[in-house]
Symmetry: C2
Subunit: 344 residues, 2 copies
C-alpha cells in the first residue's frame, strides 16, 4: 500500500466494501464466548493505515460491550506487513473523530507488523478476527504475467499458477487463524472475490491501466523488460474456491463455515460521477484509487524506486487521461464474497 | 526521533547505555511469577526503531525461557509515540540477524503507538517492563527556554518548570505501569539522569549546539522568534528525583524499589576517536547522533518542516564544523540512573 497516509485518502471503494460485512461482524461478535476475567482480543488482519477499520472495529467493540462492561479490557490488534505505514495507523487511532479509542478507555490498541500468512498471535488468544479486502493479496507473485498486470486477465497457464498459489495461501491463512482463535471464536472475511467466471469486476479499469503501460512501452517511456515483470500480486477467488479452503484437512477439523454469501459493490466513484457529472474529479479519483493499491506492486517500494518514480508519475497521469476518454470502462463493480467462520 | 531508520543508525550511545541495564534486567526476569497457562507479556517502553531493543529483549526472553519452555507464548510489545517509525521497527524485527524472532517461534511481537504517559495495556497484564534512555523525554515542554535548547542549561525559573513537569510525568509513568504490571512483575529503567548538581553529562555538546544556533540567529540564517521557541523537551532527574517519584501516594502502595544505582557512560564516539584519531568521522558521527535525537524537537516533524528543512541541514552541517573545532567539548559522559521496581 502507498505510504504517508495515501491509502487512507484514496481507498473509498475498500471503505464501502467493509460496510457489507458489518451485519456479519455484529452477529459474530454477539455469539462469542466471553470470559470477563480474561478480557477479549480482537484482530483486524490487514489494517493498512486504519481508516477503513474504524467503523467495523467500533461495531465489534460496541457489540462485545453489550455483554461485557468496562473495565473488562478489549485489546484491538491491527496487523499488516512490516513495511506498512503504522505511524499513519496510530495517528489515525489517536486523532480521527471516529476512532474507537475516544469512546472506550478500556480498549487498548496494538499493531502486529508481520504477514498474516504466519501465526501472529499466541495459540487460542483471539476471540474475533476481521479481514476486509485483504486476502486477495498473495504472499508473493508465483510467476510473471507477461502481457498484463492483473491475474484475471493473464494467460491460462499464468492464471493456473495464480490459482494454485491462492489456494495455498488461503489454506495457510486459515491454518494460522485456526491456531490463534479461541474455541467458539469467529473470523469474518469480506473478500474481494470473483464471479463463477473468475472476474473480479475491475477488469475494465485494469485493462485500461495495462493499455496505458503498453502504450508507454511502444513510446519508449517504459522498458519492455520492466513492463514484463510488472504485476499486482492478487487473485480473486470464487465462492467455491473460498469454501474449498475450509475443506483442507489441516483446517476442517478446527474451523467450520457458518455462512457464505456474495454481493456486488457498485463503484462509489462512478456513482458520485453520475451524481455530479464532474469527469475531471472522477478520473483523478479513480486514478488515485488505482495508484494507492497498485503503485508499490508495479513500481517497487518508495525507498528503492529511484528513477522509476518519474515513470510512475507519468503512468498515473496518463491513466487519468485514459479514464477521461473511457469513463464507463474504468467503473469497477467489485465482486465480494463474505464469510463467517467459527472455531470449533 | 528521526524517521526512515535514521535513529537506528545514529544511536550508538543509547545502544551502549542499554547494556548497563542488562544484568538488572536478567535478575528481574529470573524472579518473575510465571503462569505457563497464561503466557508472558514483556513491554519495551519507548522502543523507537527497535535496534537498541534487540539485545535486552533477547536477554529477557532467554531468561524467561529457562523457566518456561516453548510453546508457552511470550508476547513482546514495543511501545512508542504514534508518529514513531514503526515500519523500521517491524522490518528490523524481521530482518536483523540479532532479532529475537529468529531464535524462538513462540515469541509474538507487537507495537503500541501511544504515549507511555497513558495506560497502554490492560490492568495486570504485563510481567516485565523495560525502558532504556526514554523517561527523560517529557510529555510536553512546560515552557520555552529562551536562551538555550537544553533544560540543564536553562534559567533558574525555566529549570524549575522543567523539574516540576518531570516530577508529574514520572509519577504518571509509574501510576500507569503500576496498573499494567502483574503482582510480582518487574519494571527495569535505564534512565538518562543527572548528577547531584543536575548535570546530564552532555552539557558541552548541547552548549556547542546552542552556540551554533545563536550564530545562525546573528547571521540572519535563523529567525530569533524561531530560535526562542526551540527546545529539546527533556529533563535529567537526579537519583533523588527518581526515588522521590516512588514515594507518591498513588504509586507507593503498588510499587516498591528493589534497587537503584548510578553509572557513567563514557562516550563511545569519543573512545572510537581516541582509538582512530579520525576527527572527520568523529565530528560527523557526533553531529548525526545529535540530529537523530534532536531534529524533530528543534525543527518539527518532517511532514510539516517545510523551509525549516534547509535550516536544519545548515544547522547540523555547522554543528559538525563546530565539533571539529572543539572535539573534546562535544564528548558526552551521560549520567545513568538504573532502577529495578517491583509490583507489590
Amino acid at each position: 500500500m502507498a505510504g504517508a497516509g495515501q491509502y487512507n485518502l484514496h481507498s473509498a471503494p475498500q471503505h464501502v466494501a467493509s460496510r457489507f460485512g458489518l451485519d456479519l461482524l455484529e452477529r459474530a461478535a454477539s455469539k462469542l464466548p466471553l470470559e470477563p476475567a480474561r478480557g477479549v482480543v480482537i484482530a483486524d488482519y490487514g489494517a493498512s493505515q486504519g481508516r477503513n477499520s474504524l467503523l467495523p472495529m467500533s461495531v465489534a467493540i460496541a457489540t462485545v460491550r453489550e455483554r461485557l462492561a468496562p473495565p473488562t479490557p478489549i485489546s484491538m490488534v491491527h496487523t499488516d506487513l512490516p513495511e506498512n505505514d503504522f505511524a499513519a495507523l496510530f495517528t489515525t487511532l489517536r486523532d480521527d473523530p471516529d476512532s474507537y479509542l475516544r469512546a472506550d478507555p478500556a480498549v487498548f490498541s496494538f499493531a502486529s507488523g508481520r504477514s498474516f500468512y504466519e501465526q501472529l498471535f499466541p495459540a487460542g488468544s483471539v476471540s474475533l478476527g476481521w479481514s476486509s479486502i485483504t486476502v486477495h493479496w498473495l504472499s508473493a507473485p508465483p510467476t510473471a504475467i507477461r502481457r498484463h498486470i492483473f491475474s484475471p486477465l493473464a494467460s491460462t497457464n499464468e492464471r493456473a499458477a495464480y490459482a494454485a498459489r491462492a489456494a495455498e495461501d488461503w489454506t495457510q491463512f486459515l491454518v494460522h487463524r485456526r491456531a490463534e482463535l479461541v474455541p467458539g471464536g469467529r473470523l469474518v472475511i469480506v473478500g474481494s472475490g470473483a464471479d463463477a467466471g473468475g472476474r473480479s469486476g475491475a477488469e475494465g479499469l485494469l485493462d485500461l491501466a495495462n493499455d496505458v503501460l503498453a502504450e508507454m512501452v511502444s513510446d519508449g517511456a517504459l522498458a519492455p523488460g520492466v513492463y514484463e515483470r510488472m504485476v499486482i500480486p492478487t487473485y480473486y477467488r470464487t465462492r467455491e474456491e473460498f469454501i474449498a479452503g475450509l475443506g483442507a484437512a489441516s483446517v476442517a477439523e478446527g474451523l467450520e463455515l457458518e455462512s457464505c454469501s456474495e454481493d456486488a459493490l457498485s463503484d462509489p466513484l462512478w456513482s458520485e460521477f453520475q451524481r455530479t457529472g464532474d469527469l475531471d474529479t472522477y478520473a483523478r479519483a479513480m486514478s488515485d484509487f488505482t495508484r494507492a493499491f497498485s503503485e508499490p506492486s508495479l513500481f517497487g517500494p518508495v525507498a528503492v524506486r529511484g528513477p522509476l518514480q518519474a515513470t510512475a508519475d507519468e503512468f498515473y497521469a496518463r491513466l487519468t487521461q485514459a479514464i477521461k476518454g473511457r469513463p464507463e470502462r474504468a467503473a469497477s463493480n467489485w465482486h465480494l464474497v463474505l464469510l463467517s467462520i467459527r472455531k470449533r
